[in-house]
Symmetry: C2
Subunit: 243 residues, 2 copies
DNA sequence: CGTCAGTATTGGTACGGCCATTAGAAAGCT
DNA sequence: AGCTTTCTAATGGCCGTACCAATACTGACG
């Protein structure tokens, strides 16, 4: 039973900040796989006993773990704290927050993104399956069509742009690139938006996306890189102008 | 007075999870600059009144904010929750945790790191000041000396390696690279360690570090990249062997 | 067999109290 | 006066109880 394993799993919390101690122990139990994904932790009242502490302490610990994205809490009968598979959003948010607070200049962000995109592009060319490559092209065509509408919905634009980037980065077959990319995007999607707000850049940028996809299909590495550089050059101009 | 501004700053919490509502409101107040860095939030008992809620709710909210790295809590008279400048560690930890839980293969990590290092190297060559470049060389020499000792202390090795990478990445003059780099390192410092555990690779890797520094000083971009590739080739061999 | 009320479990909230820690104020000593 | 000690008040940390709200299961009833 659950209680049987839990009894030996946790030890009473005593030192300084009890809630932290509890949080650390529970986190350790989760990360070491002693509590499997999707499984339920003992109830608050139960943990209270296991840790020989008060319910308030347990609740504070659970709050921290929830904030960390490790658990998900449901109420009602058979509710409780369930071990959750971490999501990119949870992992990326703090970093995005940090970048914001540090007021990193947009030039720095752009520089990083461009360097990432260049690497991603090379990997996409060599590893991306034909299917994905053509899917990317189709998306860029659809995107261009959307952009050429009289008054494109900016929300739809943002969504498609996200899709586009996702397909692109997935072709690397390396999840690390995907995570880092999404992290940056979570914090700075607004940057990309501005590019598509001005009619001057909008068409050019969309066209360039399609051209990028074509060069990827053609396995033209240098030309692909050229397209990417052009994209960020546009973005930089656009942002500089806005200032 | 503090209470005067706070009264108009927060509104009572009512919806579903009160502590989340409170946390969101406080975070908004912090991020919008209404509460400045280092400043103190009202006391728990005070917030309890401002939000028309119980102290437990306030404490849970503060826990979440603390976990997020936004505040720091001190006890005693004149204690309380102080707005903190975010640290890389706070921001990077969740992402590192995520990478761990996803069980990303070490090949993927290495691939990402290598691509990062290549970009960083190029930026370091073009932007790094002479002073920094020579500082890097000195560190590599010191590092090599340490490695050549009969029984190098692995903790010291890890520390110097961290220093080395820090100097390296700082030369880019772009904090984004620094953060991403540290994020990866927080989760996977053990990877680097293994390289220096085996005598076979140890000397070669240390020597290669020095060679890298020399090529950076000489502004030999291609040779620098070659060094970096060699480093990761070693690492890959080492890890494959261990398996 | 299906529907609906009842019930037990669990998280969410509130209130009140006590302790440990801390910084500053007050008192005392030299 | 100047330093040390003691006192005091503010604050976070912790505990316990009680009640509410949501929820899934149970069983009676139609």
């Amino acid at each position: 039973m659950e209680s049987t394993t839990s009894q030996s799993l946790f030890r009473p919390a005593q030192i300084g900040r009890a809630s932290e101690d509890v949080a650390v122990q529970i986190e350790a139990a989760i990360m070491s796989g002693q509590v499997r994904m999707g499984e339920r932790l003992p109830s608050e009242r139960n943990l209270q006993v296991l840790f020989s502490t008060s319910r308030g302490v347990i609740r504070e610990a659970l709050r921290a773990l929830k904030q960390k994205g490790l658990i998900e809490v449901r109420k009602g009968a058979h509710g409780g704290a369930f071990v959750k598979t971490l999501e990119v959003l949870n992992a990326s948010e703090p970093l995005a927050l940090f970048l914001k607070q540090q007021q990193v200049s947009y030039e720095n962000i752009i520089e990083f993104r461009e360097s990432m995109d260049r690497t991603i592009a090379l990997l996409a060319i060599s590893r991306g399956e034909e299917k994905d490559k053509h899917c990317l092209l189709e998306q860029t065509v659809a995107f261009e069509k959307l952009i050429n509408e009289p008054a494109p919905n900016m929300e739809t634009v943002a969504e498609m742009l996200g899709q586009l980037n996702l397909i692109f980065v997935k072709m690397t077959k390396n999840p690390v690139f995907e995570m880092i990319m999404r992290t940056i995007q979570i914090g700075f999607s607004s940057q990309d938006q501005t590019l598509y707000e001005h009619a001057v850049y909008r068409f050019e940028a969309a066209l360039n996306w399609r051209e990028t996809a074509r060069q990827i299909i053609a396995c033209e590495a240098l030309k692909t890189l050229s397209c990417i550089s052009y994209h960020y050059a546009l973005l930089q101009h656009c942002l500089a102008e806005k200032k």
